[in-house]
Symmetry: D2
Subunit: 386 residues, 4 copies
Amino acid sequence: MSQPTLNIALIGYKFMGRAHSQAWATVSKFFDLDAQPVMKVVCGRDGAAVSEFAKRWGWQSSCTDWREVVARNDVDVVDISTPGYTHCDIAVAAAQAGKHVFCEKPLAFTLEEARTMRDAAKSAGVKHMVNFNYRRVPAVALAKQMIDAGEIGEVRHARFTYLQDWLVDPQFPMNWRLRADAAGNGAHGDLGSHAIDLARFLVGDIAEVVGMKKTFIEERPAEGTSSGLTAVAGEGTEKVTVDDASLFLAKFADGAIGSFEATRMAPGRKNYNRFEINGSKGSLAWCFEDLNYLDFYATDDPGRARGFRRIIATEGEHPYAGAWWPPGHMMGYDHTFSNAAADLVQAIAHDKCASPCFGAGAKCVAVLEAVDKSIESGAWAAVESI
Amino acid sequence: MSQPTLNIALIGYKFMGRAHSQAWATVSKFFDLDAQPVMKVVCGRDGAAVSEFAKRWGWQSSCTDWREVVARNDVDVVDISTPGYTHCDIAVAAAQAGKHVFCEKPLAFTLEEARTMRDAAKSAGVKHMVNFNYRRVPAVALAKQMIDAGEIGEVRHARFTYLQDWLVDPQFPMNWRLRADAAGNGAHGDLGSHAIDLARFLVGDIAEVVGMKKTFIEERPAEGTSSGLTAVAGEGTEKVTVDDASLFLAKFADGAIGSFEATRMAPGRKNYNRFEINGSKGSLAWCFEDLNYLDFYATDDPGRARGFRRIIATEGEHPYAGAWWPPGHMMGYDHTFSNAAADLVQAIAHDKCASPCFGAGAKCVAVLEAVDKSIESGAWAAVESI
Amino acid sequence: MSQPTLNIALIGYKFMGRAHSQAWATVSKFFDLDAQPVMKVVCGRDGAAVSEFAKRWGWQSSCTDWREVVARNDVDVVDISTPGYTHCDIAVAAAQAGKHVFCEKPLAFTLEEARTMRDAAKSAGVKHMVNFNYRRVPAVALAKQMIDAGEIGEVRHARFTYLQDWLVDPQFPMNWRLRADAAGNGAHGDLGSHAIDLARFLVGDIAEVVGMKKTFIEERPAEGTSSGLTAVAGEGTEKVTVDDASLFLAKFADGAIGSFEATRMAPGRKNYNRFEINGSKGSLAWCFEDLNYLDFYATDDPGRARGFRRIIATEGEHPYAGAWWPPGHMMGYDHTFSNAAADLVQAIAHDKCASPCFGAGAKCVAVLEAVDKSIESGAWAAVESI
Amino acid sequence: MSQPTLNIALIGYKFMGRAHSQAWATVSKFFDLDAQPVMKVVCGRDGAAVSEFAKRWGWQSSCTDWREVVARNDVDVVDISTPGYTHCDIAVAAAQAGKHVFCEKPLAFTLEEARTMRDAAKSAGVKHMVNFNYRRVPAVALAKQMIDAGEIGEVRHARFTYLQDWLVDPQFPMNWRLRADAAGNGAHGDLGSHAIDLARFLVGDIAEVVGMKKTFIEERPAEGTSSGLTAVAGEGTEKVTVDDASLFLAKFADGAIGSFEATRMAPGRKNYNRFEINGSKGSLAWCFEDLNYLDFYATDDPGRARGFRRIIATEGEHPYAGAWWPPGHMMGYDHTFSNAAADLVQAIAHDKCASPCFGAGAKCVAVLEAVDKSIESGAWAAVESI
């Protein structure tokens, strides 16, 4: 094939590293792409572990120093799937080295960092994209199309909740996600950032917020030796330095109003990333726990037959779905990463902006920060413009 | 008011007697009727009990002999809510005495009885109606309207299941519903008759059937002294002489095909009277456990927004619903009896046929019997015409 | 029967008047009560209309002056189902006349009025109850039992939303519910008061709030001649003086955190009064649009079989349900009013406090007011204690 | 790695070929296997097309003659994903050449062929497995574990329906699935075989059946030039020679009773492969359209809190799920193929029987044939033993 190649370097090889690897291994099988991603190198701090990971997942090589990776001539795209506190340094260096940058969310801990990243990417003229993967669920992308087409009219209400329950057990031990220095925020940054990005994607910019955060369990067993995805407790306890939950109200720039909630303390909710949007002509509702469905209500359906339509977003005419299976052959979590990879490859191949770009990532961080400001002041806070 | 009155006599005062009494007490409050039902007399075998019942439920009088009731000059409508083995005698006597007859389902144990009842009512020129109350759920009546309007095209598939679980516990004691001489059939007659009537209402006549019945628990604790609605066991055991479950396949006269199931042995299904009907242009699905909803799929909805619509059948333009509450103010079990009473009163007031009439009741019995014939022969059996 | 009677006087005969009438006509049929309610008199301003209403619904008499009713010696209970601006005067007069008082919600427009009502009732030593009817849905009452029994542990999260859509159409004309002088608030008072009361019932007192209100359609066609439940537009337009929607965040006194939303602008949501409560050991969720169901998740269920249980709250052992029908025979909107009437009658018969009393009604008003204060200040506001 | 390799040869490269390729490319990344599958060669009739497919999906080579593939020394497993009429020849040749055989469903058109295949595999001492992939949905495998553990007691009722809608449009053109010579059966063999296999997996052997089949649209536009997954009509029409739908009743060997339905004519049902099983102690229900959920009802849950539990089968302790993502990160259609591949690899690596083996595949065909016999005779037919 005369198709150009895109050499990918992955930084990080844990949960997100697996999801990104599966995406890169899969994307060009299902999608007709105009460039061919090549799994060039994966980078992590533990040399033996990252080498084994590379073999297992089909990366051509591995290494332990991201600076070395970023400097390689045979790397086109740097894919950052490490914890948030590392994003800025890697992304800026990668951009400065002329690499396209794909970065996990949230883009950064602080708006300042996020702006630095965006500016670096813009100055370098590389493509930049933050991986808010839920935009790539077919049902969510369909919601965006329908809103843009005016099918629910002018948006008035937006309700976003992202509920999980993995911290309900007080014996669940500490890990990096519970430390402010490594994770920045708790549920607020981890889950809330997804909710904010979806809201910005579907409804628009947020102007003002007022909110609160809460840590229900303030001390947990210390972290033990990690054992794959299973949490193991060590000796003693450690103070939790992030929130378990955040809630806030929002005024959108265009007049819509909304509420947001993120928590890891909702028993039975495993990955309950849900929204409902009400407009002047209809409503849309979606939840990741039923990811293939989009519920749609149209006020102009005939009166006696009006009701929420439960659309199964797996038809050929639905976004992304045509690349996969026949209608009704459901998609799962990892498909969203392949869909994102496809969009990124095509943006690079056609020299177009990728979306959501680092600017969008920064706007999300601005909302997170505005909530923190409102908590300090006990009053509404404006979202800083980017 | 110059509105004519209709004096009602109720025979039977147990579960169905309560439901009918509530209907007669309620119907003229919510509906604008052209005759005024009057709760004249209730009849039961236990004089003290029926007298107390009359006081509690607002019947003007009570008595213990249905023949006396039937003969009364001041009775216009005889409402039969007693077990099935009594229906024929009472209904025929009532018709012959010139009373309109409202009869609980199934109309009779045998097709012969059912025909006798129908003929008696026809000869007498009285109104006759069998109380298949599920026809009067607004969502079901809406389904009928939509099918008649061609909204799902030509019907091809019909699936009817009526599942309950009150006999799962082997210690649940005997009662009349478990004795062939009193109940005729078990789940087949009790629940299957509802399913058959709904199928006939919505899809049309059934031509041929093949089926089976099963009694999973063949012996149960003897019946003790009854205590209201709670079952109490006596000493010893008694043989169950009816089925716990029946299943059959059906060929409808118009070419549609269907399956039916009735059981009292499905743990967790409390009153799971469900149907799904697929036509050439769409589908409809309903279940009593969500009685206010009708699910509707239309193949001619726009492609990307096609999905089952979950219609909440409580709008003013939905059948019966306008008489009750504003949209979204849900209806329950007893509303179906009031809706039936309203239809009966209007049929009498306007001298029109009530529906489902005894002919329809007889056709339902014919299907029940055809299933029994198919069980005897192990082969498909034709449904006798009425 | 030597059972004492309770003579009821109903003030108001529109939507709520019908619901209350149905409750009084029904309650003693299904419930074994220790006093017998008698439908003595109904009162309304239009003499002809209220007289017709009395005949239709079985009230012994009617009249046009509530002061006369309150003064009658043969009235034991004054049932106030008029718009909110009339509540205080009637309730205070009734209490001072020694009548028990049953009052529609919200109790009053202002905390000052609410306190006056509560004090008058307390001084008079009469029973007083505000009709937050959703407490009387069996599934909701079951949730209360389960929370009190510790089945979900310590409550952490409370999410209350009450969504309707009857104002989405900008051509829907004005009525009293859209005028501040008659209704006090819009969605905030009408729907939000229900949400607040349920939250107080299930979770406890609210300490602090921050919120917002919004009127999306600020001018509507003027009100025409009313025609039953159907809205008819007159000539010209009129300014809407209440909110279409309100949202607020809450800190409960015991440490739980919550969010509240009330709107009449959510297409497809007919009576979507929903809550989800997450505790340290489990979760509960309920929505009026599926009123007979309570969803329950228990963290101590066996691991592989953990999941939200969809409880159908119609079993004999569920609150209120035993009085009605066998399991699976669903209940509707009006059953909640009968359940409330049963509780009130029993409270009077046994000389116990009715619940929710006017104190609870006042506490609800205090939360409504605190939200208004927070809107004025743009900051968190403390809920005044009662 | 010292891990042994397993060289895979895939025959067929259309819909099933893609699904199998994705499985082989993915399985050893997520699962810790004791042999390493190698994508050696893919075989199809169109040399250019299969060569392109090989490059895209990562097969080391391609060829056009399955006999050549079967004879290769460097092939360990022959994976047959071609239409049913080719299965027998390929499988027998592969077995005789000493290759393990993985075969798409239904195993064969006739019981005779199926027995030949099973005998050939047994004689050759190779592993053999038929790809009823729905057994590998975690929620279904969980259902099997729970039934085996007695959690729903003795099974009484089994209800299996598999509904699709891709043939509703009469303009949908012919393809091989609508020709008896290529496909054997229509919905009966394609969808019904899945339902039968799940029933045998979960409930046990079927002893007797009675059923019917129906072709609603007997003539369709001729097949045009195929264009990927999109159907294109050619000129003229062609007679449909398979069924659009089949229904049958079943008596299981152990006393349970069941109903089965398969159709491609149910508007709105995209891949509605559903079962509900009722036992003496509980119930289980599942549908592929919500594949990650298993509904479970236990009669011994505490009375007031009894209800169907909606288990999200994505926990580490659920079958297969631990290999993939954290709880709540949903799985889709293609995961079932990877799960099947993992089981097959492990069976080969540990020299254990794979399941479902060709014997199970033959038993499924025996049920399909018994239904056909019952249709000919119009009476119940015994299922032939294998």
